[in-house]
């Protein structure tokens, strides 16, 4: 009797440990999801900054999350801005910055392409780059060194590079 009670007690303890472990696992996964879902103030510029940081840290899931969020919130405005242009916006820096949605959605798609490319997901990377070129081709990205660069031109180069890379394995 005494032994059987001990065994029951041990089993209950085991069960509690198991439940605890499961809880820890669930909580930690929720926590990492929550972290991944940290979009800050959700401004397009914030999401782009976070995507660059995630890319540099090799946190590819986070790059995808920021890209999705940015597109979900700002792609309509970005497309509107793109269709209002017939070439890259010129003029002073403020004028170019006024196409903020276009610039940020285009840039984040470039980051997504880079991330997918780094993961060896070539066809998905080409898709991201093509979406950038086709839908947000006039986007421009401010370089902290003091000028704007054109993600769509860089994306065209990346598509050519990925096409060639695929030929190497033929």
């Amino acid at each position: 009797m005494r032994n059987s009670g001990m065994i029951q007690k041990l089993n209950r303890m085991k069960l509690r440990w198991c439940v605890l472990l499961v809880l820890v696992a669930v909580l930690s996964s929720v926590k990492s999801d929550l972290l991944a879902q940290d979009f800050g103030d959700s401004k397009s510029s914030t999401l782009v900054t976070k995507a660059w940081e995630a890319l540099a840290a090799g946190e590819h899931d986070n790059v995808t999350a920021y890209t999705k969020k940015c597109c979900e919130l700002y792609q309509d405005e970005a497309k509107k801005q793109q269709s209002s242009l017939s070439d890259f916006a010129g003029g002073d820096d403020d004028t170019i910055h006024s196409y903020w949605a276009l610039n940020d959605v285009g840039t984040i798609l470039f980051i997504q392409g880079e991330s997918l490319s780094q993961q060896g997901k070539s066809s998905e990377a080409v898709e991201a780059y093509k979406s950038l070129v086709d839908d947000y081709g006039f986007c421009q990205c401010w370089d902290p060194q003091g000028w704007f660069w054109k993600p769509s031109e860089a994306a065209v180069a990346k598509i050519k590079e990925l096409d060639f890379d695929a030929q190497l394995d033929d």
Binding site: A56, W147, E153, A154, V156, A157, K160, F164
Partner: protein, 448 residues
Amino acid sequence: MIRTQIVKSILDNVTFLFLCALVAQTSVAADGSRVRIRGSAKDGYQLYVNEEHFVIRGVGGTSHIELLSSCGGNAIRTWDAASAEKKVDGKSLLDHAYDKNIFVTVGLWLGHERHGFRYDDPNSITQQRDEVVNAIKRLKNHPALLCWGLGNEMEGPDGKGDSVQIWKEVNTLASLVKKHDPDHPVMTVVANVNDAKLATIKKYAPLIDILGVNVYSGSVGMDKTLRDLGWEKPYCVSEYGPPGPWEVASTTWKAPLEPSSRSKASTYFAATSSILDATSKDGTQVGQKYCLGGYAFLWGHKQETTATWFGMLLPTGEKTLVVDAMTKAWTGSWPRNRAPILQSNRITFAGKRVGPGEILDAHVEYRDPDSDDLSYIWEIVKESTDRKIGGDAEKRPDIIESRVIDGSGSDQIRIQAPQKTGGYRLFVTVRDGHGSGCSENWPFFVSP
């Protein structure tokens, strides 16, 4: 009597040979190339060499002319006149090029202010003008001459590059070149472009025929960039290649991450294709093409951050995958013998810190399209501390004597990290034994 006859016979032969040489020399002089640019800003531009349309499929360098010819290249560019005249195996680079139907843009080196040259010093200016004119007089009649490359990045690799003094002098030099040689266009070469630089060149150096732009990461978009900046004359991408050490991510100890051989090959291919797309294919004036072609950097090898960053050939002369990529872009076909292709690598310590003397494991997997047997050489090299800008000469860091535990000569190695604290790179050089090879490297840092 017999001796006299022998001496006379020798003298006759020598005289004959001398006359032959003289005739040959005169014939080269008489048959100097004639190069013209045709077209306009409205219709686009084309280069014509001896009345034939010519798209520059070029490289920057001074050697391996035969290999260049076999890969589909048709032009080479030097940075100074001495390199074009220097004799190897009894012939100058121009002569070797002529033998293989390769044309040469001969560089006319102009002083750089960062090296101490002063564009406000009359004596320095006079001396430089004399040197330029003398080089033109010596070489203008060579049949392999394509263009004059007047200076290389003398406006400085950083900053706006809009010094009026420099560009006025370039214009004066261009007028001197044209005065002494009306048969070859004058190209000046800049380190990338910006609006201030282009505006200054347009205003103060209008005699320049071709703008040569050295550009790495942005080479694919250069055509659009120049148009956006309002450039309406012919241009040429005078240096292009992989992203430079100044354009890539670095480790925490500031060691730039060199792209893999495979990634470099893709970059060269994309850039070359874009350059060719921007040129007029058949000499027809359709499509407002302003680009005359390009020169990939570097046909050879040099130390610039690493010994392999820009080299299209290994230091031992083998062509790399980059050359295969260029061949494919230039000719549409792969070369007969192809270089090994990196499939995967497992370098767990790449970009990380390791302990002194720690055991390091590295593994690479290459595929050789010709199924050649591959040889592998692994080396640990100190991180370069002699970093310069603008391509200035750098000292190659030391190779470290390393204790190989296992796997020397194979595709995997177990090697002991150096004891001394500091940055290093593990290099692997792979050769196929038939003239092709490639190299990769991974930085790591030793600290206690």
